[in-house]
């Protein structure tokens, strides 16, 4: 059981080690001398007046949703790529095409509704 999962464990372990090393090294080696001006937000070299929370317009939210929707679609295609050389690959291929087609319908709907151009 462990044998088949070994590569995944090694992969995740390496990821954590390298990631952790960089952050720790950065914190340990880099000299850190915090001062008040350094902690203030950077606004092109001027004292910032951003004294309250920044309120987003609704159109930003729309763009974010559309991005998530169509980007995650690609994530689903990766595991399918691994299965392609299995016996009945024609079935898998048709499966993917159907999946992409359904999302295409969604895309056309969004496009016709005008959610893509910025308002």
């Amino acid at each position: 059981m462990l044998q088949s999962y070994l590569p995944v464990i090694v992969f995740v372990g390496l990821g954590i080690i390298v990631g952790g090393a960089f952050t720790i090294l950065n914190r340990v080696l880099g000299p850190s001398r915090p001062n008040r001006v350094k902690s203030e937000p950077y606004e092109c070299g001027l004292p910032t007046e951003v004294t309250r929370t920044f309120r987003f317009g609704v159109s930003f939210y729309m763009v974010a949703m559309l991005f998530i929707l169509f980007d995650i679609e690609v994530v689903f295609l990766y595991p399918v790529g691994v299965l392609l050389n299995v016996s009945n690959s024609v079935f898998v291929l048709v499966e993917i095409v159907l999946f992409v087609f359904v999302l295409l319908v969604g895309f056309v709907y969004v496009w016709r509704r005008g959610a893509l151009n910025w308002r």
């Binding site: 000299p31 850190s32 001398r33 001062n35 001006v37 350094k38 950077y42 070299g45 001027l46």
Partner: protein
Amino acid sequence: MDVERTKLRGLSPLDQPRSPEELRIRQLRARDMLRGDIDDADLDEYVESRVMTTTLERAQNWARGNSMFPATFGLACCAIEMMSMVSARYDTARFGAEVFRASPRQADMLILSGRVSIKMVPVIRRIYDQMLEPKWVLSMGACSSSGGMFANYAVVQGADKFLPVDIHIPGCPPRPEALIYGILKLQRKIFGEPDLGWRERYKAYGTEEDERPWKSGPLSVQRVGAAPSDGIVESHGSPPSDAELHAPISHPELSGHEAHDAWEEAADDERVTTSRPPGDRRGDA
């Protein structure tokens, strides 16, 4: 053999005292290694000298020095020459100073290129404060180094009035090569073996910073020879006696063809007139 050495000494126009680590000699040796001319004894010594004695501090300084990210801070005309420093002909990518970071958070070096107006001082000071810690400041051009030709109400007479400046680069605007030379000097300063400026080498003799009584006659130069490891020259005590001054600086004997190559190199450099500091009689037979 002595003749070659004096010829060799005439190579670098700056005429700093020759030391084995001299760039020119290192290049020749590297070339020979590639040609396979250096055999076992020299080869081990050569390879060993290339591997840095890695105390953590030196390794860090080596990494920091070789990849300095300048913050894009174009004030005025020097900014145009700073931009051309990145262009294909001058290309600071060779020295790791090519990536211009827009935000001070990701920049290591602030190149003050241009005249500093009184309205701009709070902005520059704020950006310097917001830069993360191993940071250096290069003041490029006469205007940011000393107010330049604008001695009037609107320009701050020198950036070191409100910023700790590491390197002042003269010129109006300085050529891109001058800017790159300034960056190289900063790199050596970061590596811990700073090239000694005239203040350290001549003890600021003859200026108001030097308490020694002004006496005309030959300049007494503090022998620099093998610079002490931490690059800090001991505070100037009594000026060195003449005998000490005349002692030729010792050189490990160069291997056969190296000296020949160097000599051959120096032959066609004959027209390189060595601009020696006044009264410097080092190495004269």
